[in-house]
């Protein structure tokens, strides 16, 4: 009986082992055709088949967490950099050597975004940030200074229309104002974040808070949120909004005659301009994978090359993280240049786990408390930061 069990065990084990070298890739819909194309070339050269599986972008992180724990899951997966904190804390992401990429081929923001504790955890391919959409029926020239912004807002705020709207109580959209004058989330020393140094209530952030306050006093509803902003702009009732490039298809469909404008091109005072968060998409390798060498080679030599990155762009037109590809793209597309400028004028959203604490405090009370007038920007931000620091264990 014992022998029988052993034999059966061996049989089942060898059955598992037969499924030899195969790279499993998890990616969202848009990259699937491209990955398959690249995979064919890879198969020819390395004799390794590429199994490209489509997973909803929003599900990749949670599914990966579950699968990787069991030693399963993809060898390569595509993710936005701000998700990596949790995965890295669990030891599930394989770092790349910095020598794997030629840093000068990439925009700094892209590489910084995937850097954590002095290690590179993914190879970036697309960068994006929020930017200003303006309705050309109201505004011919987009604002270049804070004064102009305030003037436009006043001019177009009437009983029925809004001059300027954004999701004001959400740090993601309000951060450009806080950081523009010198606020920051965590201090970045070029290699890692100091999570004990929170700059959301320094002089710069308070100045930014006061600017938001002024904008509200000039007529932006303090409860302005994504839904209100989005529908007002689609109905043509709003002159300027702050939103991400993802909204473009919607606004095209709504038939709005709009223009886009980088927030970084709106100067607040000399040498200081609005600075949003950048989101960076990239390829990562499962630390529990048995095919790490193949996975890294595929990423480095196939999909992160100039041709590879350009092919990705054609399938999924987001600003490429590679400089040469981005230059090629913006040579023919005017909007692409604006997106590029917006993204490289942004700073990467911190990728550390402690960011969750920032979101919950800032979105929960830090911003609301002064936008709704319960307290002054200075008081509200200081309260929020002391809460953030107190929450750190």
């Amino acid at each position: 009986m014992k022998k029988l069990v052993l034999i059966a065990l061996l049989v089942s084990l060898s059955a598992i082992a037969i499924f030899g070298a195969k790279l499993v890739v998890w990616t969202s819909e848009k990259q699937v055709p491209f990955m398959k194309k690249m995979g064919e070339q890879f198969t020819k050269k390395y004799g390794v088949t590429l199994d490209v599986q489509m997973v909803n972008f929003g599900d990749i992180k949670s599914k990966f967490l579950t699968a990787a724990q069991a030693g399963e899951g993809p060898d390569i997966f595509v993710l936005a950099h701000d998700n990596m904190g949790e995965l890295v804390a669990n030891g599930l992401v394989e770092p790349f050597e910095f020598s794997a990429v030629d840093r000068k081929n990439y925009y700094d923001v892209a590489i910084d975004a995937f850097t954590m504790n002095g290690k590179l955890y993914g190879i970036p391919y697309a960068i994006e940030s929020i930017l200003m959409f303006y309705n050309k029926d109201y505004i011919k020239d987009p604002p270049k200074t804070a004064e102009q912004l305030l003037k436009y807002q006043k001019d177009f705020t009437t009983k029925d229309t809004f001059g300027l709207l954004w999701d004001v109580n959400n740090l993601y959209f309000s951060y450009p104002f806080l950081s523009g004058f010198g606020g920051y989330v965590f201090k970045w020393d070029g290699k890692q974040y100091n999570v004990k140094d929170v700059g959301l209530a320094n002089a710069g952030a308070i100045k930014g808070g006061n600017l938001i306050k002024t904008i509200i006093e000039n007529g932006m509803p303090s409860s302005s949120n994504y839904g209100t902003m989005d529908s007002a702009f689609k109905d043509g009732l709003c002159a300027m909004i702050i939103n991400g490039p993802w909204a473009i298809p919607d606004y095209n469909n709504a038939g709005i005659n709009y223009g886009v404008w980088p927030l970084a091109s709106i100067e607040l005072e000399k040498g200081k301009s609005l600075k949003p968060f950048a989101g960076v998409q990239g390829f990562m390798v499962n630390a529990k994978s048995k095919n790490k060498a193949l996975a890294k080679e595929f990423i480095i030599n196939y999909i992160s090359t100039t041709e590879g990155a350009y092919t990705i762009y054609k399938e999924d037109p987001r600003t490429p993280a590679r400089k040469d590809v981005a230059e090629k793209v913006i040579a023919t597309d005017e909007n692409a240049k604006v997106f590029r400028d917006a993204a490289i004028g942004a700073e990467p959203m911190p990728n550390v786990l402690e960011m969750g604490n920032i979101w919950s405090v800032m979105n929960g009370e830090g911003l609301v408390n002064f936008t709704n007038g319960t307290s002054t920007p200075e008081q509200a931000l200081k309260d929020a930061v002391s809460k953030i620091l107190a929450n750190l264990k």
């Binding site: 059966a8 065990l9 089942s12 084990l13 060898s14 598992i16 082992a17 070298a21 050269k45 390395y46 004799g47 390794v48 949670s62 967490l65 724990q69 069991a70 030693g71 904190g85 949790e86 804390a89 669990n90 030891g91 394989e94 050597e97 020598s99 794997a100 504790n117 109580n169 509803p221 409860s223 949120n225 839904g227 209100t228 529908s231 630390a287 048995k290 095919n291 790490k292 060498a293 193949l294 890294k296 080679e297 480095i300 030599n301 786990l353 402690e354 960011m355 969750g356 604490n357 919950s360 405090v361 979105n363 929960g364 009370e365 609301v368 709704n372 809460k387 107190a390 929450n391 264990k393």
Partner: protein
């Protein structure tokens, strides 16, 4: 017909057997012994029940028992087990797995900056059919010397059959001869006169390596040589995947591995950073063995704290390497009751959960009862129409009506209440979902809306079962309508409705959907270091902690809270049984 039936039955039994066997072995293969053994035992009993006459009655109860075990008992056991650990973000693997990672993962190798790097060429023995075999030698070289490896030794596999380790030694060539301990190799060159060529050219023309038994290893692959690019598939997917990727080559005290830094194009000096050491501690009379991990390069033991291994980096900072699941006893429960930043929100949520469930029952019952009384009045015309209309909120899926409430009624700018009621009256718009108090009001309004039709239907049924004579008799005695209600209707109603109220309380206690869809627990609660919201009830709080916390997942803590919820709901159910009995006694 009968044969067909028999065949089908046997087919069914075979399929079930095969399926369970497969589950059994897979579970064992993946090290999940407990569940695997239970499945095995079940399989044995199931087969006994099928084949033995004695087991006949169990044929029908066994499937039920099986699913009860898989879907109820095992999850309960697992939750209880998890509640006493720190399982969650940063603590996902067992300590053994963490140690295994530290020992074998290339992430924890050390490549000295000024270490030696060597280029390499692979030589393979071909079989009779001139197919490459997996028997190979590697020729490594730099500007000064040529080395050749010997046969691999100490090949180890993990539980899934992947190679995790292989060792070999390499020897320096002298004038194209290599002397190994037991045999020798000779380098065979395609061009004979070699003395005048520069050294690097002398590697290019080595076409084979021959050992003393005349076994020949022919030139197969080099990364820098396009003429053998056709062999890259076999190299990458077989030789490198199975052996070279995990190969450690020793030469004197030097150790070489395929270099991560050079993207696997060269071998470079690489050392394992960590090793294990078994220590013995004397606790009382017994010797306790403990495996610790040491940093070989710095010869120091790794620090273990907070359920993780830590090591100092080159700047002297303590860095977290790998976390593991750790038994922390009642730590999670202590956290709930001792850490003020967790206790505060927990108690708030606890109280709100009771308030929410209690008020939901009270409001739904009060409104349901009123409507039921009205509908029960014989003077009311069109009762059927009213009744149908009033049941509608119950018939529409909660998913839809909750979203209508959230976006249609409570939106601060466009919502019906603010836009058409509050603002026109000259008030400031109400912050329905952002103000802690108003959000709670909103949650209760929606839950009452969703719940009153149920109460109305239930009460209506009970009202109709109250005998008419009681009212007649009491009105003869001169009782008012009001008195009739309190002395006859209400007590008799309570007999049948009270247990349902308790059930409704228990249901609302865990009414996750309403909270989650309407506010998702928001607005965030101040002064806490967990992800608590003002409208969170215990179950939604648990869900957030376990699956979507902003600071990673915390399964251990979530399990501890679900245990507490379990105790409370079990208590309510027990009380319910008691309660029901006492009411039955009253009505007797």
């Amino acid at each position: 017909m009968n044969t067909l039936k028999k065949v089908l039955i046997w087919l069914f039994i075979t399929v079930i057997n095969v399926l369970l066997f497969w589950v059994f072995f897979t579970l064992l293969a993946f090290g999940n012994y407990g569940l695997g053994i239970v499945v095995g035992i079940f399989l044995a009993i199931a087969d006994w029940a099928v084949f033995s006459k004695k087991g006949y009655p169990y044929r029908y109860t066994l499937p039920a028992m099986f699913f009860l075990f898989i879907l109820t008992i095992y999850p309960m056991y697992y939750t209880i087990k998890t509640a006493f650990t720190d399982y969650g973000t940063g603590h996902l693997f067992t300590r053994d797995q963490a140690i295994q990672t530290l020992l074998t993962d290339p992430r924890f190798n050390y490549e000295p900056q000024e270490g030696k790097t060597l280029d390499f060429r692979v030589y393979v023995r071909y079989d009779e059919k001139f197919q490459p075999t997996e028997d190979f030698r590697i020729l490594l070289y730099d500007n000064e010397s040529i080395f050749v490896t010997e046969k691999l030794s100490d090949i180890r596999y993990d539980s899934k059959g992947n190679t995790i380790n292989a060792n070999t030694r390499m020897y320096k060539a002298q004038d194209d001869y290599i002397n190994l301990d037991s045999s020798s190799y000779r380098l065979i060159r395609s061009v004979s006169e070699t003395t005048l060529e520069p050294f690097s050219a002398r590697v290019d023309n080595i076409s084979a390596i021959e050992d003393s038994q005349k076994i020949r290893y022919s030139y197969f692959y080099s990364i820098n040589d396009p003429s053998v690019a056709g062999n890259s598939a076999f190299y990458a997917s077989v030789l490198r995947q199975k052996y070279i990727g995990n190969l450690e080559i020793s030469y004197d005290t030097l150790r070489f591995r395929l270099s991560d830094r050079n993207i696997y194009r060269k071998f470079s000096e690489t050392y394992k950073k960590y090793d294990i050491l078994v220590t013995t501690e004397n606790i009382g009379q017994r010797n306790v063995y403990k495996t610790i991990v040491v940093n070989k390069l710095a010869s120091r033991n790794l620090t273990e704290k907070d359920g993780a291994f830590w090591d100092y980096d080159e700047n002297g900072n303590l860095v977290r390497l790998e976390g593991y699941v750790q038994d922390i006893g009642t730590g999670q429960f202590e956290k709930i009751f001792k850490d003020p930043k967790i206790t505060g929100p927990f108690i708030k949520i606890f109280i709100w959960t009771f308030t929410y469930a209690g008020l939901s029952v009270l409001f739904t019952f009060a409104i349901g009862l009123m409507l039921a009384l009205a509908l029960n009045d014989k003077g009311l015309r069109g009762r059927m129409i009213y009744r149908t209309l009033l049941i509608l909120p119950w018939a529409i899926p909660a998913f839809i009506s909750v979203l209508v409430w959230r976006n249609g009624f409570f939106n601060e700018t466009y919502g019906f209440i603010n836009k058409f009621v509050v603002t026109p009256l000259g008030f400031e718009p109400l912050k329905w979902l952002n103000d802690p108090f108003l959000a709670k009001v909103a949650v209760l309004i929606v839950n009452t809306w969703l719940g009153f039709p149920y109460m109305m239907t239930v009460t209506l049924g009970s009202l109709q079962s109250i005998p008419e004579e009681l009212y007649e008799a009491s009105s003869i005695d001169g009782a008012s309508r009001f008195k009739q209600f309190w002395k006859i209707t209400f007590p008799l109603l309570m007999v049948s409705v009270a247990p349902l109220l308790v059930m409704s309380f228990a249901f609302n206690f865990n009414n996750f959907v309403n909270i989650y869809l309407l506010t998702a627990g928001n607005p965030a609660m101040a002064n806490t270091n967990t992800y608590a919201g003002e409208t969170d009830i215990l179950i939604s709080y648990t869900y957030k902690l376990a699956f979507e916390g902003g600071r990673g997942q915390d399964f251990g803590f979530a399990s501890a809270i679900s245990l507490i919820i379990f105790v409370i709901v079990a208590g309510i159910s027990y009380a319910n049984f008691k309660f029901t009995k006492s009411f039955e006694e009253v009505s007797r």
